[in-house]
């Protein structure tokens, strides 16, 4: 018995050596020794965490609680593997405090996974939404006639372009020029600013293009960007210019018409500009029309108009009536000329007109081309209205005409 308990390896009995009365006792001791040894071995194995082991014989009642513990540990090992695989549906029953803690842990892991899954689903949905929106945006923007260029404010990089530049620009030399203009407009804009509208033109020797530009500051994939929406308004601009010409130009001579001339005169007076008002009346136009026909009369008119238009690009020349013209010349553009110098300039112009007089086949002058001038120096202190100024110039023109008729008679 002592060996069974304290030295099991050397515990050994040979029942055959015992007398008949003690044989059963000896056999019983042998069974007890085996059971104790098996139980001790199993306890050692369990203490080392060894689970894939041969268990004691079924008849070993002594080892039964340890075998139950072995079954429990086997189950726990399986449960833990299941948790590691992400199976949180299993629970442990009837293992007291350990079961409570384990089941709590599984519950928390399951909740955490659900939360993570929900977040992942949300992120996935957002990504899908974003992708859909992006596809929609690209589809819509691709079919828009407007050109959209998303400019990174910091780097000037083009984050998105809905049409290739060559399909929009009239000349490939415009590309660099255009991007510089866009960046210049985009850089001062801040997120939250109201959209702005600008217009600009691209000019080269071979092409001219007008654009209207709408600028929207936005966040674009974490970039501070400005959406530049460009509309090519070249055709509209040209049409506008054509209509402006129809409305403001005299179709026969190409100079401005009376309406425009008088409008400008009113504006210049209102702005207290200092300028020269030159009233021009063609001499003998009626005679030319009557004698040489309206064709010749028209040539005469065009000659005068061209002469006046050649005075200065900055001067506004308008035809007030059949044989009357008005020239408005801002003193700032008159190269410091005073009234005398301006008068002289127009006298020279009158000589030039006379020199252009029509000659017949024999080289003799058919009629002398001439014009009468009425010049008014309008200062900043002018208080006269446009019609008063025009009347004054008209008056001076008649004086001039009378004087020169006298000259002609003399």
């Amino acid at each position: 018995m002592g060996d069974i308990l304290y030295a099991p390896r050397q515990a050994h009995l040979e029942p055959a050596e015992f007398s008949d009365e003690l044989k059963d006792f000896a056999e019983g001791l042998t069974v007890l020794g085996r059971m104790v040894n098996e139980t001790r071995t199993l306890a050692g194995q369990l203490s080392r965490g060894e689970l894939d082991i041969a268990l004691p014989d079924h008849d070993n009642e002594l080892a039964a609680p340890l075998k139950a513990l072995h079954a429990t540990l086997k189950h726990l090992a399986w449960q833990t593997k299941q948790v590691a695989r992400g199976d949180y549906s299993q629970h442990i029953n009837f293992m007291g405090e350990f079961a409570d803690a384990f089941n709590d842990m599984i519950g928390q892991l399951a909740t955490q996974r659900e939360r993570l899954q929900a977040e992942m689903d949300l992120v996935k949905r957002r990504a899908e939404d974003l992708e859909r929106s992006s596809s929609l945006f690209e589809a819509i923007s691709g079919s828009m006639p407007e050109w959209i260029v998303m400019v990174d404010k910091e780097t000037g990089e083009h984050l998105f372009v809905n049409h290739p530049p060559e399909s929009v620009l009239a000349s490939d030399i415009f590309e660099k020029q255009l991007y510089e203009i866009l960046l210049e407009y985009a850089q001062p804009m801040e997120i939250g600013d109201e959209p702005r509208t600008e217009s600009f033109s691209l000019i080269s020797d071979v092409a001219l293009q007008y654009f209207e530009l709408r600028l929207y500051p936005i966040m674009w994939y974490s970039h501070e960007a400005v959406a530049c929406v460009l509309t090519d308004v070249t055709k509209e601009f040209e049409e506008h210019s054509r209509l402006e010409d129809v409305a403001y130009r005299d179709t026969q001579t190409g100079v401005y018409n009376r309406h425009f001339g008088m409008q400008q005169l009113g504006e210049w007076i209102g702005a207290e500009r200092e300028f020269f008002l030159v009233f021009v009346d063609m001499d003998m136009l009626k005679y030319v029309n009557d004698v040489f026909g309206h064709g010749e009369g028209d040539i005469y008119i065009k000659t005068v108009a061209d002469l006046l238009a050649g005075v200065s690009g900055a001067a506004i020349v308008s035809r007030l009536g059949g044989d009357e013209f008005m020239l408005l010349w801002d003193k700032k553009d008159a190269d410091g000329r005073d009234l005398g110098a301006v008068t002289q300039l127009f006298e020279d112009l009158r000589d030039k007109l006379a020199a252009s007089s029509s000659v017949d086949e024999k080289g003799e002058v058919r009629y002398a081309r001439s014009m009468s001038l009425g010049i008014v120096d309008v200062g900043a202190d002018n208080r006269l209205s446009s019609s008063d100024l025009l009347s004054l110039a008209d008056e001076r023109m008649y004086e001039y005409k009378r004087a020169h008729k006298m000259e002609r008679r003399i």
């Binding site: 070993n60 139950a68 189950h75 299993q90 009837f94």
Partner: protein
């Protein structure tokens, strides 16, 4: 006098409905009873069948009855449409709720479908005197029936440890029948 409505009705052919409305029928005594009554019926039946047909045949009858019970139990109590882990969790809980036993998995090989499980505090055998034999033939059939109902595959289930053979839990090996 025959009744046309009760024609062909017999309790001898098992149908889940024939388990009856226990709550209604036992309004005072209720739905539960001591395990000893269950065992009294089971082991007297085993006794009679063994004497009539021999122990091997009697055990075979128990396996067959267990299979029928397991199939019907799975079809009527469990959700067969869920994934295996959920099915297992539901089965474990149902066995506890009905006080049949404490099911615990020890191993499951996905590829082969082989599994090892134990049933503790088993209705059939826990607490029986040790006779050095496995006695849970009904459980073998019961587990096989459940697995068949869920997987559609025939399982051979063999009890390798049993309370009656000296263990504290009943351990079963289950393999898909070749």
């Amino acid at each position: 006098m025959s009744n046309i409505f009760l024609k062909n009705r017999t309790i001898n052919e098992f149908r889940w409905e024939n388990l009856g409305d226990v709550k209604m029928g036992r309004e005072d005594l209720g739905e539960e009873m001591p395990v000893i009554v269950y065992r009294l019926m089971q082991f007297t039946m085993l006794d009679v069948l063994t004497k009539e047909f021999g122990s091997e045949k009697a055990n075979e009858f128990f396996v067959k009855a267990g299979f029928l019970a397991g199939s019907e139990f799975a079809k009527n109590v469990l959700d067969l449409s869920v994934d295996f882990n959920s099915f297992l969790a539901n089965l474990t809980q149902a066995l506890v709720d009905l006080k049949i036993g404490v099911l615990r998995m020890e191993a499951f090989e996905v590829e082969s479908g082989k599994l090892v499980l134990t049933v503790g505090q088993d209705l059939d055998c826990s607490g029986l005197p040790v006779t050095n034999e496995t006695v849970c033939h009904y459980d073998e059939g019961f587990i096989s029936g459940i697995l068949h109902a869920y997987t559609g595959k025939k399982y051979d289930v063999k009890e390798i440890d049993c309370w009656a053979s000296g263990d504290r839990v009943c351990r079963f090996n289950a393999e898909i029948a070749s």
